[in-house]
Symmetry: C2
Subunit: 334 residues, 2 copies
């Protein structure tokens, strides 16, 4: 049995300082973080993207990742979806008393590895500890800053009729991986989270086209939620084609078993883009060069009809409205 | 009985969107937030300060403030301590299922009022909900970006022998206010939290002197922790004079009753500065013009002796070493 986190690790005492200097900081150290002031100081000029997300995923370890990777890639991806190059992230931990310090160390290694893969630096952080039963092992918040180079204006509100809708790969993998781990389900085809950094993918898409109108990573609420957000924010209709949406066989099987629709299941390493029709081909080619988007596909288009709504042409030839998810789907998936 | 937060309020579903658009966003709305993309986009150039803190204070309402004010001012203050003008903050909520939406609304009003007082904008946010018993009502994370104008180089590592140590006012008020509320204690002199934004105070200090070396707000671990951090980071000794440290009678009485030392109790609206000796007078005058620093005082000085250590001359004429706090003092004070 290893050491456990105590309340005093969060109290600003010598124990806090030891935890930071021995367990937390070494995994993510860099000269900006080393200053150890209340704020990090960075030199930057231009249009900056700024975002935040908290991660409360349960369990904190799951096939294909853990809460540390998720927290880094989630913020990297949110910055990327504004067309920004992610640069700096913050890392704030809320730890439940009693967490194994060994587990924390593994997660910090994960954070460090994820930051290195994405090419971002953890420059500032915070640690709080709450009593047993007042949190659930570990919650992580990351915020991030990225730089938008050139004149890119990418927003969920910029999709225009005629744009092609491109999806970077199979849907539902993250949600089903977490679900299977949490519920102890065994599917015939195991599913791993798609948890991945998408900044390099976005950079290559932006190098291929100046006409990417909208980008978003379909996390909570899945592809259905993201497409509905585009349709509402852009006041346009969206048509997608069921047959063109890649779904891993394991995800499909697990969803059928559980009565879930993969359209509503969370992803953590996928993106949806609305791209001017004429550029869709070159954007797609650029995407398929990236290891996280080999299965990228045009799955539909934006239309001036049925504004604010998403319609799917089904495999059997009918059409159905894909609504915004209404209630609870899978809690604590990210 | 009003409405309660459900798990589905955090699932990216229509309920989440309703909560954001009806309860969360209106209290803090501005054009940058209104874009509602994954990231906010802001134009900025120069040296930027970037910081984050999570707030897990228990209870979430206490005399003199609530978790919302604390979360805004805490990050405003951390930015200010780098000499930055705070501009933009993020707001990420982790809500326990069952929280009264009315309480959430009061806290959001508080966040909005605090942001207005400090002159910062909430530009991006996130909401997660966890099951009953997996958090404690509400945790808030804020991250923030500020701009460092001019050539200021303020850091805990810049204190130099000869510098005067200035404290902006009485210590221990936040910690004792939260403690009294949480434990249902009644002190003869009620104590309210000093929770306040210090950015305007810092701006007037920087206008008065170019020779402010170190600034820090003594939150968790109190004044003792901050002075020890300065001493270690700057590899210098610090001498303080017990008689010069302002302590509200209510705090003194409560601390005596509970066997606590006000030096180790958290503040949320105070700062400590290390300032070149010759400028201490004009900085002090500027500080006393500000409503949050009427009691500002020189409490000691930096020395080349006993490097890394803080020594206090006591009221009875002896000296004692003020060590870094060791274990737990007051959990969940911020």
């Amino acid at each position: 049995m290893g050491e456990k986190i105590l309340l005093a690790h969060g109290s600003g005492s010598r124990l806090s300082h030891d935890l930071i200097s021995k367990v937390l900081a070494p995994a993510v150290m860099n000269p900006l973080l080393a200053r150890m002031d209340d704020s990090a100081v960075v030199e930057l000029s231009g249009r900056l993207a700024f975002t935040t997300d908290s991660y409360v995923v349960n369990p904190i370890f799951f096939p294909g990742g853990d809460i540390g990777r998720l927290a880094v890639f989630g913020t990297v991806n949110d910055l990327s979806m504004s067309g920004a190059r992610p640069l700096y992230i913050s890392l704030a931990l809320i730890i439940e008393e009693g967490l194994d310090i060994d587990d924390l160390q593994i997660i910090m290694q994960s954070v460090g590895g994820a930051a290195a893969e994405a090419g971002v630096q953890v420059v500032t952080g915070d640690t709080k500890v709450v009593e047993r039963g007042k949190a659930d092992r570990l919650f992580i918040n990351t915020a991030g800053i990225g730089l938008i180079e050139g004149t890119a204006d990418i927003s969920g509100s910029n999709a225009r009729p005629g744009d092609k809708i491109i999806l970077s790969g199979g849907i539902g993998e993250h949600g089903m991986a977490v679900m299977s781990q949490r519920e102890g389900l065994r599917f015939s085809l195991p599913v791993a989270s798609d948890c991945a950094p998408l900044n390099h993918l976005v950079a290559s898409m932006m190098a291929a086209s100046n006409n990417i109108h909208s980008l978003r990573d379909p996390t909570r609420g899945g592809l259905a939620c993201t497409l509905n957000e585009f349709a509402r924010q852009s006041d346009a209709g969206i048509v997608i084609d069921e047959d063109r949406i890649p779904v891993h066989d394991g995800v499909r099987g697990a969803c059928e078993l559980l009565g879930l629709d993969p359209l509503y299941i969370a992803n953590e390493g996928k993106l949806v883009a609305a791209v001017v029709e004429g550029d869709a081909g070159c954007v797609l080619s650029a995407m398929r060069e990236n290891k996280y988007a080999r299965q990228a596909a045009v799955i539909g288009y934006v239309t001036s009809e049925h504004r604010g709504r998403v319609v799917m042409k089904t495999s059997i030839g009918s059409s159905r409205i894909i609504d915004m998810p209404v209630g609870e789907i899978l809690p604590r998936i990210c």
